[in-house]
């Protein structure tokens, strides 16, 4: 697979992943460029979420998972023994399919990450909360309700809160695992716009079921099928002029 845009940040080489007997990822090799949006598309069970979760080692928690090959971020192998998983996850933030704010106030949700990593001063935390909420385009909506429980907000707001929460620990990479699939079209649009803004500062990797979303938002698109990378190309190229017949079949809606 060729690298499409600028500098490579995530380098995946001959990655194989097994859940017990099941071979979930087969010889995945790709270079994900920094400060751009890379979208993973493909039918359910094709391994796109699995690959996403190898990037912050969330698969570690699933018993029976085995990994071969190399995943390097900024040149450092994240599966080497010296790697501290918590530090890795601080650098690689994640937003999930279902908005999952903690049952705490907006403020405490955002401050959760910074507090974990040892930031205590109120002034410093106030500042982080404000900048994170501003980056997630949520500040104007919630600035008067920072003490209110995060659960009292709408799904779209909760999801942007989760993005703000991820940003608050100052990551390099933001993983979005079907982050809009539980949201209505307007909230989805807001998150997509937000992703566009955030890609100037963060490297974004998103998994999506929605091909149109990938086409609208991403710079590169990767098409997966049965655990294999079928095609990795610039988004425009992949959707207008796919090289592989299977990609064409999928994006034209002939299966999946």
């Amino acid at each position: 697979m060729q690298s499409v845009a600028s500098q490579t940040l995530i380098d995946i080489h001959k990655l194989n992943l097994y859940y017990g007997q099941f071979h979930a990822l087969k010889d995945v090799t790709m270079d994900i460029p920094e400060k751009a949006i890379t979208a993973f598309i493909g039918p359910s069970g094709c391994g796109k979420s699995t690959l996403l979760r190898t990037l912050n080692r969330m698969n570690d928690m699933i018993p029976g998972t085995r990994i071969e090959g190399k995943v390097a971020i900024g040149g450092a192998d994240i599966y080497s023994k010296e790697v501290d998983v918590e530090t890795l996850r601080k650098k690689v933030g994640m937003v999930f399919q279902q908005p999952n704010p903690f049952p705490k106030s907006i403020y405490d949700n955002i401050a959760y990450g910074p507090r974990l990593h040892g930031i205590r001063g109120k002034q410093k935390l106030d500042e982080i909360v404000e900048t994170s909420l501003r980056s997630a385009a949520l500040w104007d909506e919630v600035k008067d309700y920072l003490k209110r429980s995060a659960l009292s907000f709408s799904g779209g707001q909760q999801q942007r809160l989760c993005i703000a929460r991820a940003i608050a620990v100052n990551p390099d990479i933001l993983l979005m695992d079907e982050a809009t699939s539980a949201l209505d079209p307007i909230s989805t649009l807001k998150i997509e716009e937000l992703a566009q803004e955030l890609k100037d500062k963060y490297t974004i990797v998103m998994v999506t079921h929605n091909m149109h979303q990938a086409a609208r938002v991403s710079n590169q698109t990767v098409f997966f099928l049965n655990g294999e990378v079928v095609e990795f190309a610039e988004t425009e190229k992949l959707f207008s002029n796919p090289r592989d017949q299977r990609t064409e079949d999928y994006i034209s809606g002939r299966f999946g």
Partner: protein, 312 residues
């Protein structure tokens, strides 16, 4: 079967259509409704009867026999057979409260930590081995707990501390073992029911397992954990036999944890057989039962309150 009135609109149409929408399950429906209604009626009548009986007897102490409410609740001397009968139940109330509170204080941290271990740290082993073992503990008859208390706990306490070994300390240790399964089981269910997304969200921010447990898991499930503790306390409050075997049963407020004391339940079970129905002594025992019953209601209300807070 006759067509029910609801089907009127259909009746205008041909006979076959009407039959197609007939209700062949009407009798079944009714049998089910009547049967379940009867069951609930039996329950309600039983509970109502118990409450009425205990209250009428228990209140007779005050209204018929002229014992003052303050004298019963606040009196320090229980001498129903004395020349001047005294019905001070404070030692029993004190004994019941102190044993169940101490038992809860001992069992709550143990049960919660056990639940954390079973659900967060070793979920596989916890579910397959530990949980059945703990549930087994819940099935052990209370006389066995009392017996173990008498032959193990009391001698150990006697060897270490001054006194005979019997008393509040022995009672609450035995009780804490008895309520441990209740607290553990409810805590385990609460922790297992925690949405996975919350924990993942915490891990994804770089939290360690401990940070996730004490910053997210425990605070989120706290109302359910407390529900378990309150239910455990309410079981401890009502337990008679096991406590009676190890507490000594003297009707005084003890000066230490290792001095013979008594509880409401043990006072009732020990004395009930020796009194005549309708006598003041007998009625006073019913008053003790009424106190127990009211406390049970209080516990139920507290649990309800916690559950409502949990749902939010």
């Amino acid at each position: 079967m006759e067509q029910p009135a609801v089907m009127n609109k259909k009746r205008v149409q041909t006979g076959s259509t009407t039959r197609a929408f007939a209700k062949p399950h009407v009798i079944e429906e009714w049998v089910g409704k009547v049967y379940t209604a009867l069951c609930i009626l039996v329950l309600v009548i039983t509970i109502g009867a118990i409450v009425y009986f205990v209250s009428s007897r228990g209140l007779a102490t005050f209204f018929v026999d002229g014992v003052s409410l303050g004298g019963l609740l606040g009196g320090l001397k229980w001498e129903p057979e004395g020349d001047i009968p005294l019905y001070g139940a404070l030692p029993f109330i004190f004994g019941s409260f102190s044993t169940s509170v101490l038992a809860a204080l001992m069992a709550a941290p143990l049960g919660m930590c056990a639940a954390v271990f079973m659900t967060q740290i070793m979920p596989g082993f916890g579910k397959k081995v530990l949980q059945p073992v703990i549930e087994l503990l819940a099935g052990i008859p209370s006389v066995v707990f009392g017996f173990v208390g008498l032959s193990v706990v009391v001698p150990v306490l006697r060897a270490i501390f001054p006194g005979q070994g019997i008393g509040i300390a022995a009672g609450s240790i035995v009780l804490s073992l008895m309520i441990l399964p209740t607290i553990t089981t409810i805590a385990t269910d609460a922790l297992a029911a925690l949405p996975r997304g919350l924990k993942e969200g915490s891990f994804a921010l770089g939290a360690t397992r401990w940070q996730t447990i004490y910053r997210i898991v425990l605070p989120t499930t706290l109302p359910s954990l407390l529900t378990g503790v309150v239910l455990g306390m309410s079981r401890a409050f009502g337990e008679a036999l096991a406590v009676q075997m190890v507490i000594g049963n003297s009707p005084h407020i003890p000066h230490s944890l290792f001095e013979s004391a008594s509880t409401l339940t043990s006072a009732i079970t020990l004395d009930m057989g020796n009194t005549v129905m309708g006598s003041t002594h007998n009625n006073a025992l019913w008053s003790l039962a009424l106190i127990l019953l009211s406390m049970t209601f209080v516990f139920v209300f507290v649990v309800r309150f916690l559950e409502r807070r949990n749902k939010r």
